[in-house]
């Protein structure tokens, strides 16, 4: 289990990185934290001709707030998000989700941009990004564009990022006031890739009714699934366990999970129903802040 030969490129600036992608992108893999790529190299399942190591681009390591969003540089490590006081305040859902990524050794290397660009539908960050309707900034030598989450994830491990492009920033909306959140995940063993993940944010209005609901399920289809029907159904309602239970029971219709060794499609649907219910209950219980 040793990687095969590749040519190693280490750009010193974003500009240089984009130029390298322009020149070699079709035959290259971008190396950031390496926590998804290096296992594939070791197994020789990935044998790229070039590796573009963007690890030196410190300009892509930051957590900022702008225009109601938490903007995270693509090279920001999971551990930095996990430990960020700013994220705990502005987007605690993200902070909670990041804690569920693999194990600490993985979070110490893995990057936010890498996880998003990898596009694994069962991974934590894509699920949160989809639920909150976040955005991804994508750059090439010719263009900088921003993709919305719902157009970014295409299918299994496929995203809107072209071979000559690089994900440079991931944007998560700041949670509004009176919003509760929950991140639920189940794996057979702690730290494994989740069988199902659920990210939810619930905003209540002054009369204690649901003003806004954002819920997505990961691991139950080729891309994270935003539960728009459920969101619409519960907005305007008073939160209750009964409401959430009946709403969660409906989600099976929109999920299309595959089966594998660890769970049948039926199981994943049932699990998603349970976790959606738990997430809605948990999110509602976390709504804080007095109404004026």
């Amino acid at each position: 289990m040793k990687p095969s030969h590749f040519h190693y490129l280490r750009p010193q600036s974003l500009e240089e990185a984009l130029e390298m992608l322009q020149a070699y992108g079709e035959d290259a893999k971008v190396l950031a934290g390496g926590q998804s790529l290096i296992p594939l190299l070791n197994m020789r399942l990935a044998t790229p001709k070039y590796i573009i190591d963007i690890g030196g681009l410190d300009e892509l390591r930051y957590i900022r707030e702008a225009e109601g969003q938490v903007r995270i540089g693509a090279l920001t490590r999971h551990v930095d998000v996990e430990k960020s006081g700013r994220i705990a305040e502005a987007c605690p859902l993200l902070g909670a989700a990041v804690q569920r990524i693999g194990h600490s050794q993985i979070r110490n290397r893995g990057t936010v941009g890498g996880s998003i660009a990898h596009g694994d539908a069962s991974a934590e960050l894509p699920c949160v990004l989809a639920a909150l309707r976040g955005e991804v900034r994508i750059q090439s030598t010719t263009e900088t564009r921003v993709a919305a989450a719902d157009t970014f994830f295409l299918t299994y491990m496929m995203t809107d990022v072209q071979p000559t492009e690089l994900v440079t920033e991931v944007r998560f909306p700041v949670l509004p006031a009176h919003t509760g959140w929950s991140f639920q995940e189940f794996a057979r063993r702690h730290g494994d890739f989740a069988m199902v993940t659920v990210a939810a944010a619930i905003t209540l209005d002054g009369s204690n009714r649901i003003a806004k609901a954002q819920v997505a399920v990961g691991g139950a289809g080729p891309v994270p699934t935003v539960l728009t029907d459920l969101e619409e159904a519960i907005v305007g309602e008073e939160p209750s366990s009964a409401l959430f239970e009946s709403a969660a029971a409906q989600v099976g219709d929109v999920l299309e999970p595959d089966g594998d060794l660890h769970g049948t499609p039926e199981y994943r649907v049932q699990l998603a129903q349970s976790l959606v219910r738990r997430a809605l209950d948990d999110a509602t219980s976390k709504v804080g802040g007095a109404f004026v």
């Binding site: 289990m1 040793k2 057979r188 063993r189 494994d192 060794l261 660890h262 199981y267 699990l271 349970s274």
Partner: protein
């Protein structure tokens, strides 16, 4: 005098392992060393044509060897002498045992995916892997037999044509009169039980380094094995060289659990390559190779009929089982015979008939894994106890009690033979007391009450009990040579091959007590065929019993010799001398003494020796301990679980083990063995399974698919000890290595079945996954709702 035996003496192995000064095979580097990558079969069954010419041209490549290079030079592996049944047992049960030799590199045909086809020898592993990818193998696929039930059908094409059948081995044992027992009983039931394939998965993979010395025309082979002596005899035999020219060393070994308890083709191939190339050659198995090619275990299906009376008393048990042995079965009927011998466990079942068959399929070959046939037996027996109790409306404890062997019936004769050819007679134990001790620690009555209370609230709690006995300390022998060196240090050379069992510590404790010194004054050396002429190995819970007894008796012999030398020099009768604190002194005149160093000097060969004329020179004694038969450990596990109705997860609320391993040499070590064994057993019960598809392709080839439990999954086991000394060795020790791993599958399956007993859910197969549990819970909820609705009407 037991000063150190029985104490929590800190491990002597730890310092090097904690500081990175340990040396595993992968850590070794010799001048001019080359590294190997094996080319392994992509297909489970195919004819092959191999072409290594392109690979040979790759940079850094020194050789590409295939079966052609080995033809006529290196013979195939045959089942190990040590695991053949003794002749008297063969004459009694007349098993079928067909020869099934395993080629070192596949000849013309492959029989499982992962089988070694060619070896690429290069400057380093990176280059070897590059070249291995260039070895061309043309496969002509053959029909794959991945299902043992299809493979054993009379018309099925034999995977090894010379065998003429895929049933490689079968055996049948009968005690009493099963048909009469069946006829006389109040009730009968039939069930099918499945214990799937798992793998031991030591954290250190296999690894071999061989060095050929031209001057002496000899080989030194370092290998991560549990059985150095067996590796040596096979290398010598298959390469056709004298054993004297082969030294096999197991340096630090990172776990084995049975899977390193055999001889592998790669060990032979690496030894051959080093000799052929005249350079050191190393192969370190990677994890993907390990998952695919390292031998696997369990994989039994049982069809059982049991006859019992309304009080729960079992009158007869009939079992037919099939073992999926994979493509080769080097341990022959070792595991299935263990299943047979341990099936009735702690219970008196007068009429018993059991037949087992080892079937060859196109899967990874098989070997023993911690428990070696016993977890399968216990799974069958303890599931039956739980099922019978439910059928009769009794508590499982009641059914256990009416069937348990009573302490006054010890030694108890089960009316058949053990695998070593001796009569299967339990030596000691009080099974009812062990059971009740476990129930007490588990707070059985409290959890039964809680279970009832919570069930009415829709929460499912279950309690599972499992008991086991284990024949431990199997022969044929183990050896120890004890010597005092010129500085007075005691050295114990052992024939076993420890790999985590703490032998350096526990055997030092035994030795230290015999000589009245601190264990620090004892060095234990093991895992090297050059240390003493004969040895067997470390497996089957045999180390403490066999190596421990060998050390004890050899120490006693040497002590006696040293006393005689001291008596001779000091001119004081032996009866008036005492040995303590590293010297021998006159009890009445402590000033008259000889240190061990003095005695060592007196014992040196030479003219005018200062020792009795009839004593051989040297301070050394040897003992080969030959156990009269195995000695029977036993224990009871109790699991209390809660089922998560949202996810299907099994939460273990409490896990209790009470066990008897006779005299405890080091409680800390024994507790560690139990806790570690339970972790593996829980893995098997809830997480782990090796899955091949219908084409014999492995679907669980990585650590992301084969789920070993982590610190988040394994509970702290609450342990109790009951000590019933063995009557089969002087110390009264019984083995403990496997006990922890034997019962968890049965305990967990019983607990889940118990949680849902009101709707008759039976968990007769492991692992009990969330998918299954969620389905059971949904069934239970629906039935409970229906019952409530009916009750309301």
């Amino acid at each position: 005098m037991a000063t150190y035996v029985g104490s929590n003496y800190r491990r002597k192995e730890d310092y090097r392992l904690l500081t990175g000064k340990s040396e595993f095979v992968a850590d070794m580097k010799l001048h001019g060393m080359l590294e190997v990558a094996f080319v392994r079969s992509m297909h489970a069954h195919a004819e092959i044509a191999v072409d290594g010419t392109e690979a040979l041209k790759m940079p850094g490549v020194h050789a590409v060897l295939t079966a052609r290079d080995l033809a006529g030079v290196v013979g195939p592996l045959n089942p190990l002498e040590e695991f053949r049944l003794p002749q008297d047992l063969i004459d009694t049960i007349h098993p079928v045992l067909l020869p099934c030799p395993e080629d070192i590199l596949a000849v013309d045909k492959v029989v499982y995916a992962g089988q070694p086809i060619a070896m690429v020898i290069a400057e380093n592993r990176y280059l070897a892997e590059d070249a291995a990818a260039r070895v061309l193998v043309k496969y002509t696929p053959l029909p794959v037999l991945a299902d043992p039930f299809r493979a054993r059908e009379p018309g099925a094409p034999p995977i090894h044509p010379a065998m003429g059948s895929n049933v490689q081995a079968s055996l049948h044992v009968e005690v009493g009169d099963v048909e009469r027992g069946m006829a006389e009983a109040d009730c009968l039931l039939k069930r099918r039980f499945v214990v799937p394939r798992v793998t031991a998965n030591p954290l250190e993979t296999r690894g071999v380094l061989a060095d050929y010395d031209r001057r002496s025309d000899s080989l030194t082979v370092w290998t991560s094995t549990q059985v150095t002596f067996m590796v040596r005899s096979n290398i010598a035999k298959l390469l056709d060289i004298p054993e004297e020219k082969v030294r096999v060393v197991a340096p630090d070994v990172g776990g084995g659990f049975g899977t390193k308890g055999g001889v592998y083709p790669e060990e032979i191939a690496i030894a051959y390559a080093a000799r052929r190339l005249g350079r050191p050659v190393k192969w370190i198995e990677d994890r993907m190779e390990h998952m695919q090619s390292c031998r696997q275990s369990r994989d039994q299906v049982h069809e059982v009929e049991v006859a019992f009376n309304r009080d729960g008393r079992i009158l007869a048990l009939k079992d037919e089982f099939v073992v999926d042995s994979g493509a080769y079965n080097p341990l022959l009927v070792t595991c299935p015979y263990n299943t047979v011998a341990h099936m009735r466990g702690m219970f008196k079942i007068p009429n018993f008939a059991i037949a087992g068959a080892c079937v060859i399929t196109n899967k990874t070959p098989s070997i023993a894994y911690r428990g070696a046939g016993r977890p399968e037996a216990v799974f069958v027996m303890d599931r039956l106890i739980q099922i019978i109790s439910r059928e009769l409306g009794l508590d499982p404890v009641e059914v256990m009690e009416v069937n348990l062997i009573r302490p006054e019936e010890m030694p108890y004769d089960q009316g058949m033979y053990y695998r070593d050819g001796t009569k299967l007679v339990y030596d000691s134990g009080d099974y009812p007391a062990t059971l009740h001790h476990a129930l007490e620690l588990a707070e059985y009555d409290r959890y039964r009450a809680l279970q009832r209370e919570r069930r009415s609230e829709g929460e499912y709690i279950g309690i599972g009990i499992s008991s086991y006995i284990e024949g431990t300390g199997i022969g044929p022998f183990e050896g120890a040579v004890i010597r005092v060196d010129a500085t007075g240090q005691i050295v114990a050379y052992i024939g076993s091959t420890p790999h985590g069992q703490s032998h350096e510590t526990t055997l030092s404790q035994i030795c230290a007590d015999e000589f009245g010194v601190s264990p620090e004054q004892v060095t234990v050396r093991a895992g090297d065929t050059s240390l003493l002429p004969y040895g067997v190995g470390t497996f089957a819970s045999r180390g403490a019993v066999t190596a421990g007894s060998a050390v004890q008796v050899a120490s006693q012999k040497l002590r006696e010799k040293m006393m005689r030398i001291a008596s001779h020099t000091l001119e004081i009768p032996v009866e008036d001398l005492e040995m303590r604190d590293g010297k021998v002194f006159a009890r009445q005149m402590p000033g008259r003494s000889m240190s061990f160093r003095d005695i060592a000097r007196a014992a040196r060969p030479g003219p005018n020796p200062a020792r009795p004329a009839d004593l051989e020179p040297g301070v050394e004694a040897t003992h080969y301990f030959v156990p009269p038969s195995v000695t029977y450990s036993g224990g009871v596990h109790v699991a209390v679980v809660r089922l998560d109705k949202d996810t299907g997860q099994i939460d273990i609320i409490r896990y209790v083990v009470v066990h008897d391993c006779g005299r405890v040499l080091n409680p800390m070590v024994v507790d560690g063995q139990i806790q570690g064994g339970v972790a593996q057993g829980l893995g098997e019960a809830m997480y782990e399974q090796i899955v091949h598809d219908e084409q014999g392709q492995l679907l669980t080839g990585t650590y992301m698919d084969y789920l070993q439990p982590t610190a988040m999954e394994v509970p702290d086991v609450i342990q109790g000890h009951s000590t019933f000394l063995s009557t089969r060795n002087a110390m009264g020790v019984k083995g403990v290595g496997e006990g922890g791993a034997i019962s968890p599958p049965a305990a967990i399956a019983n607990a889940v079945s118990d949680a849902l007993s009101m709707i008759g859910i039976e968990v007769n197969e492991v692992p009990v996954t969330p998918v299954k549990v969620l389905q059971y819970c949904r069934e239970a909820d629906a039935r409970m709702r229906l019952a409530a609705a009916e009750g309301a009407r």
